[in-house]
């Protein structure tokens, strides 16, 4: 019995280790409050361990973990819904400014998360992400970061396959439009010599 419990934890950790980076990246992109990413990840792993008996070996562990993490991140985002609404009301220029200054800052963060994570996302992409709804953002990130198939995204978010395709198309369209605007603005700024 003792061996079973230990080997179960070992098996869980062996499955978790290869996807830790992707989980963390996804979490930091999806969550509104960067300081809460560490808590979200910790809660996700503990929930997954508690429910490990419901995980079937034939299913994708990656998709299963992303599903639990998405629920956790959405719950935290709902908690900060007022802040999220406020961010949606800002102009794209202000959003880009926010993305440049309001990203994850090691000096402001708690000691645990202050270590190694590096906010490498280019400001235009970060600002563009903020113009998406929670579902659009989750679908886009599950595809880009998690590299999940459409069917896995559908199962993770518990939405129909058609909705996955629709949300992904909308998310890409919004991102494309935002990046094009950002590039035009940068081009104009360069031309004017600012």
């Amino acid at each position: 019995m003792c061996e079973t419990a230990t080997s179960n934890a070992d098996r869980f950790l062996a499955l978790l280790k290869p996807i830790e980076r992707e989980l963390e990246t996804y979490c930091r992109r999806l969550i509104w409050e960067p300081q809460e990413a560490a808590d979200a990840l910790q809660n996700t792993v503990m929930r997954a361990l508690a429910a490990f008996d419901r995980y079937h070996g034939d299913a994708s562990f990656r998709a299963w973990m992303f599903k639990i993490l998405t629920h956790e991140a959405f719950a935290l985002n709902r908690k900060h819904a007022r802040i999220a609404r406020h961010e949606f009301q800002l102009e794209p220029e202000e959003l880009e400014g926010l993305a440049g200054t309001g990203g994850w800052d090691p000096s402001n963060s708690r000691p645990l998360s202050a270590g190694a994570f590096e906010e490498a996302l280019e400001p235009a992409l970060a600002a563009g992400l903020k113009t998406l709804t929670d579902t659009e953002r989750a679908v886009l990130l599950l595809r880009a970061v998690g590299e999940l198939r459409y069917r896995e995204i559908s199962a993770s978010l518990e939405i129909p396959l058609g909705s996955v395709m629709g949300n992904l198309a909308r998310a890409r369209h919004k991102m494309r439009a935002y990046l094009a605007r950002a590039e035009r603005r940068n081009h104009l700024l360069k031309e004017s010599g600012v």
């Binding site: 950790l13 361990l49 998360s113 270590g115």
Partner: protein, 195 residues
């Protein structure tokens, strides 16, 4: 396949989500249509940029070390107590009944003497209770229940009393007709009528 149809499947095609036949049809169309090929190439470049940008990021070593330590800490007490977490039981294919039997066995092994003492105490209480009932039981029965002869006597007395009452019997109050006394108002009304 027409351009509109091909464009509507652009995302799924670039994500390799289409079946082989449709993918081949789109590939053939792209070879023939320069405009669609240009749009697809642009979209592919944009998606690559988004994918590369969004998936950048490092694993925070301190954070994951702490999470992994928590996982081990949560699993270790269960192992020490001789019970695995629910996850382990299911994964190893154990049934609920066998898991329950294991838990009972583990509990018995842990506190065998305590269970023995508890069982002895219950036994003593049961014996004392039984002996107390035997001493007091008959007396209570004698005191509360009347003898059959007493019951018969009481029934006889009651029957005689009923017979006496029937012999003396007066007519029931309902048989007597009482004349109603005229009210002063009806007298006045009669007087008015006469006049």
């Amino acid at each position: 396949m027409k351009c509109d149809e091909v464009k509507s499947m652009q995302g799924a095609y670039l994500d390799s989500e289409l079946d082989a036949k449709t993918s081949l049809e789109i590939a053939v169309h792209l070879r023939a249509c320069a405009e669609c090929a240009r749009l697809f190439a642009e979209e592919q470049k944009l998606q690559a940029r988004m994918r590369d940008g969004l998936s950048q990021g490092q694993r925070t070593v301190a954070l994951w070390d702490q999470i992994e330590r928590s996982v081990i800490a949560v699993s270790a007490p269960a192992a020490r107590l001789g019970r695995a977490p629910a996850a382990a039981e299911s994964v190893s294919g154990r049934t609920v009944l066998s898991a329950l039997a294991d838990k009972i066995r583990a509990g018995w092994n842990r506190s065998r003497w305590a269970w023995c003492a508890l069982a002895t105490a219950w036994g003593v209480i049961l014996v004392l209770n039984l002996t107390a009932r035997e001493a007091e039981g008959p007396r209570l029965v004698e005191k509360q229940l009347p003898q059959p002869s007493e019951v018969r006597l009481a029934a006889k007395q009651k029957w005689l009393l009923m017979a006496d009452l029937a012999a003396l019997g007066e007519p029931a109050p309902a048989d007597k007709v009482k004349a109603a006394r005229p009210s002063p108002r009806s007298d006045r009304r009669n007087e008015n009528l006469n006049t």
